[in-house]
C-alpha cells in the first residue's frame, strides 16, 4: 500500500537512515545511563532521550521509564513559545523542569539543545532524567505538599550552556538548591554529555546524507510507522468504551480521587478522552498535561503497537483530550510530586476499557503504584544519618492463557530493582525478618492474578521517621471476564500487638527501636471465571504455596483430596 507520490527516496537509504537515527538515540541513552551519577538514573533508568527534527517531531527516541514515552518535544515547543523560534543558537544547551510545562515533577530535569548544520537548524537533541534532590521541603519526595513551591527549585526554559561555554552562575543555581551537590553536578554533566552526543550524531547523519535526503527519509519513515499503526487501529471494531477508577486519596485530603477514561474508536482513529477526570487535588497527585498524554500513549502502545518503533509517525491515529484545571492537566500552583500515581491507574483503566475489543492483548489490573517506604534515622554503627527509600513490587494481572506475574515492579516504572536484603542491612539500621510471596493475594481467575509481597522491617536504631506512600486500597487490582480482584495493600506497625497501627500514607511518623513495620503489596486481577480454572493448576498453586487450601476451596471451589 505504498503511496507512490511520497517515494522521493529509495527504500535502502530510508532504512539506513532509520537505523542510524534509532542507533543515535540509543547511543544517547547509553551515554546518559553510563555517565549518570545517581542510581535513580543508571540503575532504575529513570530517564529518556529523543532526537527531534527542526519541527520538533521525533527522529528517534529511547526510554528507560515507560511513561517518558514521546513527550520530550514539549520542552522544545515551550521554549519557542517563551522566546520565539529565533532563540536557538549553535552550542547552546537549555534546562527546564516546570511540571506544568514539561508534565512530570520538579525532580525531572529536561536538558536539550539545537543542532545546526551550515547555519541551518536541522533538529534537537533532548533528554530527561530524575535528580535525587531539588530542594523540596523534605528530603526525597514530600508526600503532603500542598503547592509546587514546597516541592523545590522550579525552572522555566533556562540556558545552562551558552555558545558552548558553561554558565557558571546557572550551574551554581542548579547545584546550590538541592541537598546533594555532588550528584547534581554529576547528573547535570551526564545530561549535557548526552545532549552533545546526540547533537554530534545528528549533525554527522545530516552531513553524510544531506538535509534534503534526511528529510525525505524522515517523511517516509514517519509514513511507514503511521501506516502500521492505522492498520492496527482500523482492525478494531468502532465504538465507545469506558472505565473509571480511583486512587485512595491525594495524600493530604481523605477523599478518593477519580480518573475517568473514555476511548472512542472510529475507523483508523482512536481518541482517549480524560476530560471527565476529577479536578486538581489538594495533595501532590496532580499531573501536567504533557505527561498525562504520554501515559495515555503508553496504554495505547501496550495494546496497539508494542513492537513498533516510536518516531514522529507514531501515535498519529491517537488524540488525547484533557481538561485544563483537572487532575491530569494541572495548573499552578498544584503540587505534582506524586504525579505518576493516577497514571498507573490510567493505564490499567485504558486496558480495561478496551478489554472487550482486544481480549487476547488485555490483562487484569496490576497492583497499581510504586508503594514507597522511607525510613530516616541515624545508623548507630557509624553514627551517620541514613535514608532508606524504596518502592515495593507487587502482583500483575492474569491474561488469556497465562497467570499474572508475581512480585513485579509497577507499570510506570520498568528497570527498577528491589533493594537486596544484604545491601539494605549493611547500609541502613534495619533488620528484614521476611521478604516473600504474599499467599492468596493474587486475584482468583481462570488465569490467576500474580501475588504481591510481604516485607517485614525491624528498626535497629533508637528512633527514626517513617514515610509511606501505599495506594489502591479503594480499587485493588480488578479482574477481567469474571476474574476477581487481588488483595489490597496494607502496612501495619507492630502487627498483632496491643499497640498495632495500620496506615498507608504517612509522613515522618515516629518509630522506635524494635518496632516492626510489615508492608504487604496487592496482587493482580484474575482473568476469566475462577471456577473454570484447571484443577491441576489449583493443585500446583497449593503445592507451591501461592494459594492456601481454604482459599482454593472458597474462590475456586477446589476440594483437596
Amino acid at each position: 500500500m505504498a503511496t507512490k507520490s511520497e517515494n522521493r527516496i529509495d527504500p535502502i537509504t530510508t532504512e539506513v537512515v532509520r537505523s542510524l537515527l534509532n542507533a543515535a538515540a540509543d547511543e544517547m541513552n547509553v551515554t546518559l545511563i553510563r555517565s549518570a551519577y545517581t542510581p535513580v538514573i543508571y540503575e532504575m533508568k529513570d530517564c529518556a532521550v529523543a532526537i527531534l527534527d527542526a519541527d520538533h517531531r521525533v527522529f528517534g527516541q529511547s526510554s528507560g521509564l515507560p511513561i517518558f514515552l514521546g513527550n520530550l518535544e514539549e520542552v522544545v515547543d515551550v521554549t519557542e513559545n517563551f522566546y520565539g523560534k529565533d532563540c536557538w543558537k549553535p552550542g547552546d544547551i537549555w534546562i527546564l523542569n516546570d511540571p506544568y510545562l514539561a508534565g512530570t515533577h520538579l525532580h525531572d530535569m529536561s536538558v536539550y539543545g539545537p543542532v545546526f548544520v551550515q547555519d541551518q537548524l536541522v533538529g534537537f537533541a533532548t533528554c530527561r532524567a530524575h535528580w535525587l534532590d531539588v530542594g523540596a521541603k523534605d528530603a526525597g519526595s514530600p508526600t503532603d505538599s500542598t503547592d509546587v513551591f514546597q516541592e523545590g527549585l522550579r525552572l522555566g526554559p533556562t540556558k545552562v550552556i551558552e555558545g558552548s561555554v558553561e554558565r557558571p552562575d546557572m550551574v551554581d543555581v542548579l547545584t546550590r538548591n538541592g541537598r546533594f551537590s555532588y550528584p547534581a553536578h554529576g547528573d547535570l554533566y551526564a545530561q549535557i554529555a548526552c545532549v552533545r552526543n546526540g547533537q554530534a550524531r545528528l549533525e554527522e547523519i545530516v552531513r553524510r546524507f544531506g538535509k534534503e535526503t534526511v528529510e525525505a527519509a524522515r517523511d517516509e519513515i514517519f509514513n511507514q510507522t503511521e501506516r502500521m499503526e492505522r492498520a492496527a487501529v482500523k482492525a478494531l471494531p468502532d465504538g465507545i468504551f469506558q472505565a473509571e477508577g480511583c486512587i485512595d486519596n491525594d495524600g493530604v485530603n481523605k477523599n478518593p480521587v477519580w480518573v475517568r477514561v473514555k476511548v472512542v474508536i472510529d475507523g483508523d482513529r482512536m481518541r482517549i478522552d480524560l476530560t471527565d477526570t476529577d479536578d486538581m487535588a489538594g495533595g501532590p497527585v496532580n499531573c501536567g498535561a504533557p505527561q498525562a498524554v504520554s501515559a495515555a500513549r503508553v496504554a495505547y502502545k501496550l495494546l496497539i503497537s508494542p513492537e513498533l518503533p516510536v518516531d514522529g509517525g507514531a501515535f498519529r491515529p491517537l488524540t488525547v483530550d484533557v481538561r485544563p484545571g483537572s487532575l491530569l492537566a494541572a495548573e499552578e500552583p498544584a503540587p505534582c510530586e506524586w504525579y505518576f500515581t493516577p497514571l498507573g491507574l490510567l493505564i490499567d483503566l485504558v486496558v480495561t476499557a478496551l478489554a472487550d475489543v482486544v481480549p487476547d492483548r488485555a490483562a487484569g489490573a496490576h497492583y497499581g503504584d510504586s508503594m514507597v517506604i522511607g525510613i530516616e534515622g541515624v545508623d548507630p554503627r557509624s553514627g551517620e544519618p541514613f535514608l532508606l527509600y524504596e518502592p515495593t513490587v507487587g502482583g500483575w494481572g492474569g491474561w488469556r492463557g497465562h497467570d499474572g506475574q508475581d512480585a513485579l515492579i509497577n507499570n510506570v516504572n520498568g528497570a527498577l530493582k528491589d533493594v537486596p536484603i544484604e545491601v539494605e542491612e549493611a547500609r541502613y539500621a534495619v533488620y528484614v525478618h521476611r521478604y516473600g510471596i504474599r499467599q492468596d493475594s493474587g486475584g482468583p481467575g481462570q488465569w490467576r492474578g500474580g501475588t504481591g509481597v510481604e516485607r517485614v522491617y525491624e528498626l535497629e536504631t533508637d528512633k527514626a521517621k517513617l514515610t509511606l506512600w501505599f495506594e489502591r486500597a479503594e480499587t485493588p487490582a480488578w479482574g477481567l471476564f469474571g476474574g476477581q480482584s487481588g488483595m489490597a495493600p496494607e502496612v501495619i506497625v507492630n502487627e498483632g500487638t496491643t499497640h498495632e497501627r495500620r496506615m498507608l500514607k504517612v509522613s515522618g511518623y515516629p518509630i522506635q527501636r524494635g518496632d516492626i513495620v510489615t508492608t504487604r503489596t496487592g496482587g493482580g486481577g484474575g482473568y476469566g471465571n475462577p471456577r473454570d480454572r484447571n484443577p491441576e493448576a489449583v493443585r500446583t498453586d497449593i503445592a507451591d504455596g501461592y494459594v492456601s487450601k481454604a482459599h482454593a476451596q472458597e474462590s475456586y471451589g477446589y476440594h483437596a483430596h
Binding site: 505504498a2 517515494n7 529509495d10 527504500p11 535502502i12 532504512e15 539506513v16 537505523s19 542510524l20 542507533a23 547509553v30 553510563r34 555517565s35 551519577y37 545517581t38 542510581p39 543508571y42 540503575e43 521509564l65 515507560p66 546533594f180 555532588y182 554529576g186 551526564a190 554529555a193 517516509e220 511507514q224 501506516r227 502500521m228 503508553v298 495494546l303 486496558v351 488485555a362 490483562a363 513490587v393 491474561w399 506475574q405 508475581d406 512480585a407 513485579l408 515492579i409 520498568g414 528497570a415 527498577l416 530493582k417 528491589d418 537486596p420 536484603i421 544484604e422 545491601v423 542491612e425 528484614v432 525478618h433 521476611r434 521478604y435 516473600g436 510471596i437 503445592a543 507451591d544 501461592y546
Partner: protein, 677 residues
C-alpha cells in the same frame, strides 16, 4: 619425536581441532561433526585428524558447551535450594524488574527450581557476619531426608551474608554430606561468588548446582576416553574468564565452564595483539544467525564480573561477548512500504534461498552471492554449493514490491545489515567510553571476514585483520591462554576508613589460595603470578569499577590511598566521561586472579603452497558498479604479496572480501592485514 599442543572447540555444527607442533610452531587444523548426544565422539574424531600418534599430545585444552547445553535445553539436575529463614522467595521475586517496558504480558525467566523445592532453614547472620540465629541443624537433616526420598540430584545453599561469614553454609554442607555421602554435589553460594546481593548469588549457585553433575559426568567420561586412546597429556578446560584450569579442578567449578565457548576467539585476539604490538582490537565473529562482538583493550580481554544468561544473573568473571541478531541467514522483507533486514533468520533449515533447501525469502547470504562476494562452489569448505538462480529469484519478488532491481536490492541488503552491525559495535564501544576509530577490527568465523571492511568503513576504522584459519580461530585462541583462577572477597568500607593492613592480609590469603590452586594443576611456582584489584565507586553509586592494585607492597606505602583514589578518578573519567575528584569513595570487594603461565610456542609462518596459483578474475559489484576482481586462494599468499581491492581471498572455512579502496598484505605471522588506502 615431535610433540603437540592441541585444542578442541565444540561448536553447534562442527568441532574444531587445532594442533601446534611444539618444535616448529606449525599449525594443523581439523574439523569433525559435533556429536550432540555424546560430545566426546566428535572430539576424538577431530583429534585423530590432526595428530597421528595420541602419545605425542603434550598439552590438551578443551572448550566445552556441555554445561551451557544442559542449561539451555533444561536438561540439568533436579535441585533442592536451601535459603535463610524469611528469604526463600528471593529467587522467585528475582528483584522484580521488567526488562521489556511495553509488554503487558511480561514474563520473568522461568526458575530452575520449583517454589516447593526451596527450603527455608532457620538461621541468620547480620551484616557484620555475627550470628543472630544459630543454624537449625535438625532442619538441615530433614532437608537431607527429602533429598534422598524425592530423588534430588544436587543441593544449592545460599544463606544471607555468607559472603561475610560462611560458617552456616559450611556446617550445613557438612551435615548434608554426612547424610548423603561426601560425593553428593552441594553448591555453596559463598564459594560460587563471595559477593553481596543475595538474588544474584542464589541465581549463580542454582545454575551451578543445575549443571554441575552433567559437566562432571562429561569430564570424567572424556578423561577416561582419552586415556583409553593413549592420550597421556592432562586435559585442561577453557573458562569463561579467559583462562584455563585442569579438568580435575573444573569438576569442582562447573559454572566457570559455562560461557567458555566464544571466549577462545577473544583470547586469540589478545595473543594476536601482543604479537603485533597492537593495543586495542574489536573482535567480530559472524556466523549464520548471530554476530558476536568482543573487545581487547590494552592487550587484555574485557572482563566483567557479572553477566546475564536468558535473564538470570550470574556473578562470574566473564570475557564480555555481545551477541547481535544478524548473520548470513538474516531475512530481508517488506513492511509498510519499507525494506527491513533481520533480526529474523532463515537459520540452517531452510536457510538462504541459494541453499536450495526450500527457502524462498532473500537473505544476506543470497545478497553476498549475487554481489560476487562468495564463491558458490566453495561455500563452507566445499560442503555446500550455492544456487545463484534461486538467490536471484528470491530477490526479484521483493525488489518488485519495492521498485528496486535485483542488484540494487542485493547491495541494499548488504548496506542495511552492515549499518546495523556497525551500530551495534558503536553502542558497545560507547558504553565503554571507547572511540572505535582508535581500534583495529579483527574478523573471524565463517562470515566475519566477508563483512569486515564494510563495517570498518562505517565505523571509520582503517585497519582490518583476518587471522590464519579464521574458521578455527577460537580453538587456536585456547592454546594462547594461561591458567587462571579468580578469587573475590566482599570488602565494604569507605576508603578513608579502610585499613590497608587488613586489605593486604585478605589479598595475601586469597593469593596463597590461588597459588595453591594453580600449583595443584601443574604450574611451577616461578610461573605463577597474581593480579590484585579492588571494586570501587563513589559513595551512593551502585556500579563499581575494578581498579588494579599493582602489588601487595603498594598497599603498605604511605600514599597508597591517594594513589588508589587517583587511579579510580582517572578510570571513571575514561569510562564515563567525567569524574568527581574530592567526592567520597568506597571499596566494595577485593579481587585476586592467580595466573599460571603455561608457556607459548613462538609463532611461525611459512606459506603453504608453492607458486601463485591460477590467476582468476570474477565479476563483483560495489556501489552498483560491476568490476572484475581478483580471486586468490589464501595458501598462495606470500609475505611480499600486495593485493588491492576488489578481490576475494578464499580458504576452507571463510571468504575475505577486499572492497575497492582497501589493500591486503600479510603480516610476519601470516595474518591478513587489510588497510584503507
Amino acid at each position: 619425536m615431535n610433540k603437540y599442543r592441541v585444542s578442541a572447540d565444540i561448536g553447534g555444527t562442527f568441532t574444531d581441532v587445532v594442533a601446534i607442533n611444539q618444535e616448529t610452531g606449525r599449525i594443523a587444523v581439523g574439523k569433525a561433526s559435533t556429536t550432540p548426544r555424546d560430545l566426546t565422539q566428535g572430539i576424538l574424531a577431530g583429534l585423530s585428524r590432526v595428530v597421528e600418534n595420541p602419545e605425542t599430545i603434550d598439552f590438551l585444552v578443551h572448550g566445552t558447551t556441555q554445561g551451557l547445553n544442559a542449561f539451555l535445553e533444561r536438561r540439568g539436575e533436579k535441585v533442592l535450594l536451601l535459603a535463610s529463614e524469611g528469604a526463600g522467595d528471593v529467587y522467585y521475586i528475582a528483584r522484580g524488574d521488567r526488562r521489556d517496558l511495553y509488554q503487558l504480558h511480561y514474563r520473568k525467566p522461568e526458575p530452575l527450581v520449583r517454589r516447593r523445592d526451596i527450603v527455608e532453614i532457620r538461621e541468620r547472620l547480620n551484616a557484620q557476619g555475627g550470628i543472630r540465629i544459630a543454624l537449625d541443624e535438625a532442619g538441615v537433616r530433614i532437608a537431607a531426608r527429602r533429598v534422598r526420598e524425592e530423588g534430588f540430584g544436587a543441593v544449592a545453599i545460599a544463606f544471607l551474608f555468607s559472603y561475610v561469614n560462611p560458617v552456616h553454609e559450611l556446617r550445613a554442607a557438612e551435615i548434608l554430606q554426612d547424610e548423603l555421602g561426601e560425593h553428593f554435589p552441594v553448591t555453596l553460594s559463598h564459594q560460587i561468588a563471595n559477593e553481596w546481593r543475595e538474588y544474584e548469588r542464589t541465581s549463580s549457585s542454582v545454575i551451578d548446582a543445575y549443571i554441575a553433575p552433567s559437566v562432571q559426568r562429561y569430564l570424567n567420561r572424556l578423561t577416561a576416553e582419552l586415556h583409553r586412546q593413549n592420550v597421556v597429556a592432562p586435559l585442561h578446560i577453557m573458562q569463561s574468564n579467559g583462562g584455563i584450569i585442569s579438568a580435575a579442578a573444573a569438576t569442582n567449578s562447573s559454572l566457570q565452564t559455562l560461557l567458555s565457548g566464544p571466549v577462545g576467539g577473544t583470547m586469540g585476539g589478545v595473543s594476536l595483539a601482543r604479537d603485533n604490538g597492537l593495543q586495542n582490537l574489536i573482535c567480530i565473529d559472524m556466523g549464520g544467525t548471530s554476530f558476536d562482538v568482543s573487545l581487547v583493550m590494552n592487550q587484555s580481554p574485557d572482563i566483567e564480573t557479572e553477566t546475564y544468561l536468558e535473564g538470570f544473573p550470574i556473578l562470574l568473571p566473564v570475557v564480555k561477548i555481545h551477541t547481535v541478531g544478524a548473520g548470513g541467514g538474516s531475512v530481508a522483507y517488506e513492511e509498510a512500504g519499507g525494506l527491513r533486514v533481520g533480526p529474523r533468520s532463515a537459520g540452517a533449515e531452510p536457510g538462504p534461498a541459494c541453499y536450495a533447501r526450500g527457502g524462498l525469502e532473500p537473505t544476506v547470504t543470497d545478497a553476498n552471492l549475487l554481489l560476487g562476494r562468495i564463491d558458490p562452489d566453495w561455500f563452507a569448505g566445499g560442503t555446500l554449493s550455492l544456487d545463484r538462480n534461486l538467490a536471484s529469484q528470491a530477490m526479484e519478488g521483493l525488489g518488485h514490491q519495492l521498485g528496486l532491481d535485483t542488484m540494487q536490492l542485493a547491495e541494499g541488503i548488504g548496506r542495511i545489515v552492515n549499518t546495523k552491525m556497525a551500530q551495534a559495535i558503536r553502542a558497545i564501544t560507547v558504553e565503554k567510553g571507547i572511540e572505535p576509530r582508535d581500534y583495529a577490527l579483527l574478523a573471524y568465523g565463517g562470515a566475519g571476514p566477508m563483512h569486515a571492511c564494510f563495517l570498518a568503513e562505517e565505523l571509520g576504522i582503517a585497519r582490518v585483520i583476518v587471522p590464519k584459519n579464521p574458521g578455527a580461530f577460537s580453538a587456536w585462541g585456547m592454546l594462547q591462554t594461561d591458567m587462571r583462577q579468580d578469587f573475590a572477597q566482599a570488602f565494604y568500607t569507605p576508603l578513608d576508613r579502610a585499613n590497608p593492613m587488613e586489605m593486604a592480609d585478605l589479598l595475601e590469603t586469597m593469593a596463597r589460595e590461588g597459588s595453591a590452586a594453580v600449583a595443584a594443576q601443574g604450574a611451577t611456582t616461578q610461573a605463577i603470578s597474581h593480579r590484585f584489584s579492588t571494586d570501587m565507586r563513589y559513595r551512593g553509586q551502585e556500579y563499581t569499577l575494578t581498579i588494579a592494585i599493582e602489588s601487595l607492597d603498594e598497599i603498605t606505602r604511605t600514599d597508597f590511598k591517594e594513589v588508589l583514589v587517583n587511579r579510580f578518578h582517572r578510570a571513571h573519567l575514561a569510562r564515563f566521561g567525567h569524574n568527581n575528584p574530592g567526592a567520597p569513595t568506597e571499596l566494595v570487594a577485593l579481587r585476586v586472579a592467580a595466573i599460571g603461565e603455561v608457556g607459548r610456542i613462538p609463532p611461525a609462518y611459512e606459506s603453504e603452497a608453492e607458486g601463485q596459483g591460477e590467476i582468476e578474475y570474477r565479476d563483483m559489484t560495489f556501489n552498483q558498479k560491476t568490476l572484475s576482481g581478483r580471486v586468490i586462494r589464501r595458501a598462495y599468499l606470500r609475505s611480499d604479496t600486495r593485493i588491492s581491492g576488489p578481490a576475494l581471498v578464499l580458504e576452507d572455512t571463510a571468504t575475505t572480501v577486499i572492497p575497492p579502496g582497501w589493500e591486503l598484505r600479510l603480516d610476519q605471522l601470516g595474518a591478513m592485514d587489510i588497510t584503507r588506502l
